[in-house]
């Protein structure tokens, strides 16, 4: 590629993301004509083969959509099917579900921070490279990740595709004595998590913003994870603010059962993942959205850490719209999850029975929870025998693709304004921009090669 004014850039396989995909940029006359994220992960057809299965099966089966966030799939499936059957799981069983989910948040967010994202800030290929000069940091990350896995293993049986989740609760619940050994490990993890926030807050961040609606669950009084109401904070331009603004805008909400009326999926030719729009606009789910919508409900220690890390004061409604800083928000969420896990264990009293009965009935149920990467929605229709006749899974990455592509377009456009980047520079920049959003391509059910086309 010689003529800089007009080119096509292709990035083969994107590294340090979950799943497989490609990136394609088409530029001409100093403008980015097209930036697209092509998912070439072959489709696995979960929604098709869930038809005809018993209503008890989706928690185990859909966990296999994604090995990085199986609990998210299990929890959204349980909520949707319990909704169809008219059952609500609350009290200590709900607390145990939140504890399991905290384990997944700690493990998965720490994986992204240390093993996938941090190497970008040091110009390294991998965490293993980074460990050559920063061994203590990487060891801290592995230790923290292991603490998340310890929760999953104790409560779920294993870290990947836990076996202990069922409709209505768990197959077996732990005794107070069984949970207690986690406490020492989690106290150490809380120090590691606080140190992680300080570590990532010291990285250098490019200026950037995002001009799309933010979408997450909210549940006043708590940082929404395993339940809540879909909530939208509109994009800055709608309030005439610059995309980098850290001011909150008034939010709106709708019921989980109205999800399909608001979030519409459509298919695009370049990808096996479906794209989606929220009320006909681009939206972003995940850490930035959650922090904007639920930030004030973080625990005091996480609130203070966020403030000290330069994220402003979430109690005053300060939001973060710089995708590069999402690594700090993730670190704050890990600290919160560790703190929350400790709180749940401290307040734990074993419920009388490991699960509540979920008798099947005909109907349609909806469930949404906050996977580490963003809001994950499931819908199932059951017949009177409890057989699934229809299933719909809307993963966060599929919802985020439009916003990620817009991010890529803006970031490359801004870089073009600063002079003439080489293909290698552009590739590195785009890969970073994509990793900011921790996309999980396996779960798009269906991730990344960069192609830049300069015409």
């Amino acid at each position: 590629m010689t003529h800089r004014g007009s080119r096509v850039l292709k990035v083969g396989s994107l590294a340090r993301v979950e799943g497989e995909g490609a990136l394609h940029l088409r530029m001409g006359g100093g403008e980015v004509a097209e930036a697209r994220l092509a998912i070439y992960e072959p489709p696995r057809f979960f929604e098709a083969f869930l038809r005809g299965r018993s209503y008890a099966e989706p928690p185990d089966i859909t966990s296999r959509v994604c090995g990085i966030c199986p609990v998210a799939y299990q929890m959204s499936a349980c909520r949707a099917i319990e909704d169809a059957c008219g059952v609500v799981v609350d009290g200590q069983l709900a607390a145990l579900r939140r504890l399991l989910y905290c384990g997944e948040w700690i493990e998965s967010q720490t994986l992204h921070i240390y093993l996938l994202h941090a190497p970008d800030f040091f110009g390294c290929d991998s965490a293993i490279d980074l460990a050559r000069t920063r061994r203590a940091d990487i060891e801290r990350g592995l230790r923290l990740k292991q603490a998340g896995n310890a929760i999953l293993e104790l409560l779920g049986g294993r870290a990947i595709h836990p076996v202990n989740v069922r409709l209505g609760g768990f197959h077996r619940i732990p005794s107070t004595t069984e949970l207690r050994p986690l406490t020492d490990r989690l106290r150490r993890a809380r120090d590691d998590a606080a140190q992680t926030v300080r570590w990532v807050a010291g990285f250098e961040f490019p200026d950037a913003g995002c001009d799309n609606d933010l979408f997450a669950l909210s549940e006043p009084g708590t940082y929404a994870i395993e339940s809540g109401t879909p909530t939208v904070m509109p994009a800055p331009h709608t309030g005439c603010l610059p995309p980098e603004s850290d001011r909150a805008l008034p939010t709106r909400t709708f019921g989980v059962h109205e999800f399909g009326a608001h979030v519409a999926e459509s298919q695009v030719p370049h990808s096996t993942a479906l794209h989606s729009l929220l009320d006909n606009r681009r939206h972003l789910t995940g850490s930035l959205a959650r922090y904007a919508i639920s930030g004030r409900w973080l625990s005091p220690i996480a609130l203070q850490a966020a403030y000290d890390a330069g994220l402003g004061d979430p109690r005053q409604g300060t939001v973060c719209r710089n995708p590069f800083r999402s690594i700090i928000v993730r670190a704050v969420e890990v600290l919160y999850a560790v703190d929350e896990a400790l709180r749940i264990i401290d307040a734990y009293e074993p419920p009388p029975h490991p699960y509540v009965d979920v008798p099947s009935r005909a109907g349609t149920g909806h469930g949404a929870t906050e996977a580490p990467r963003g809001l994950l929605y499931h819908r199932y229709t059951l017949d009177s025998e409890g057989i699934v006749t229809d299933a719909s899974l809307v993963p966060p990455t599929a919802q985020n693709l439009g916003a990620i592509e817009e991010d890529l377009r803006r970031i490359v456009q801004e870089r073009l304004g600063d002079g003439d980047p080489t293909d290698a520079e552009l590739t590195a920049l785009c890969e970073r921009a994509v990793r900011n959003h921790d996309p999980c391509i396996s779960c798009s059910a269906h991730f990344l090669n960069l192609t830049v086309e300069r015409t």
């Binding site: 072959p42 199986p70 990487i138 592995l142 049986g157 595709h161 076996v163 197959h171 396996s442």
Partner: protein, 260 residues
């Protein structure tokens, strides 16, 4: 050892959930040690390094579902001294092999408004259906301890020590009371390959077969046990047709159920 003296490790992905390769990153205590002993030449989930082969050990996750996959499997075989599949997808087609019983066009129509944009084969097959494989590690997902054993064994150029008996043995080792005998819970333990450490019975549920068939299965005497514990034909077929549906033993047993 430094630089290129170290054996080269490659990790590849086909149709899968990433869970089996994540198992390698979940070896928090061993990860940096392993990385000192091998050169990680290709492992997209963990590293932007993409060094050309040949590789001393290739680990493959995922099943073959596209024509490009078939070509890629052949290429990987050609550039790998040892090829080990990790997990139920790479070893038995995975949960996505449920399409093998259906018309894939129907499946596409359920998920996509424009199925013509999607390229896929009508089957999901294990890697061994296309190229010779040196070792198959079972599980959905694989077990961390077994993975470390397999990597260590291949580095030492010996056979991995991975037992082929059933989950029942592991229940006995773990001291778990048999859920079938004590509670009449239907359990696939007797026909399922060991490796997980018999997790499910320890958590009060029956094994659902995620490690696939053990080396000796006796379905004619086993299926009546499932029936006694309350499973009807469709229940039996569904439990066999989940994460290891294309494993020959599970496939044959489920077909036989439907015939009778």
């Amino acid at each position: 050892m430094t630089g290129s003296d170290r054996p080269k490790l490659a990790v590849w992905k086909f149709a899968s959930c990433d869970g089996c390769q994540l198992t390698l990153l979940d070896c928090e205590d061993e990860l940096l040690g392993i990385a000192e002993r091998v050169e990680i030449s290709h492992f997209l989930e963990a590293s932007s390094t993409d060094a050309p082969g040949p590789y001393d050990l290739s680990l493959i996750e995922g099943s073959v579902t596209t024509q490009q996959d078939v070509d890629r499997a052949r290429h990987i075989r050609a550039v790998s001294k040892r090829l080990v599949t990790i997990g139920a997808c790479a070893t038995a087609g995975g949960v996505q092999a449920l399409r093998n019983y259906a018309d894939v066009a129907d499946f596409q129509a359920v998920v996509y408004a424009r199925p013509d944009y999607i390229e896929t084969l009508s089957t999901s097959t294990p890697i061994s259906a296309h190229v010779p494989v040196d070792f198959e590690l079972r599980g959905c997902p694989i077990d961390r301890g077994q993975l470390v054993e397999v990597i260590t064994a291949y580095l030492a150029e010996r056979k991995p020590d991975v037992p082929a008996h059933s989950v029942c043995f592991e229940c006995k080792q773990r001291g778990t009371v048999c859920v079938t005998v004590a509670h009449g819970t239907p359990c696939l333990g007797p026909v399922t390959h060991a490796g997980c450490g018999a997790i499910c019975p320890a958590y009060g549920r029956g094994c659902y077969g995620c490690f696939g068939p053990s080396n000796s299965t006796n379905f004619p005497s086993f299926i009546p046990l499932l029936r006694r514990d309350g499973m009807d034909t469709l229940d039996v077929v569904r439990v066999l047709r989940t994460f290891n549906t294309a494993a020959p033993e599970f496939d044959a047993a489920s077909r036989k159920e439907l015939e009778e």
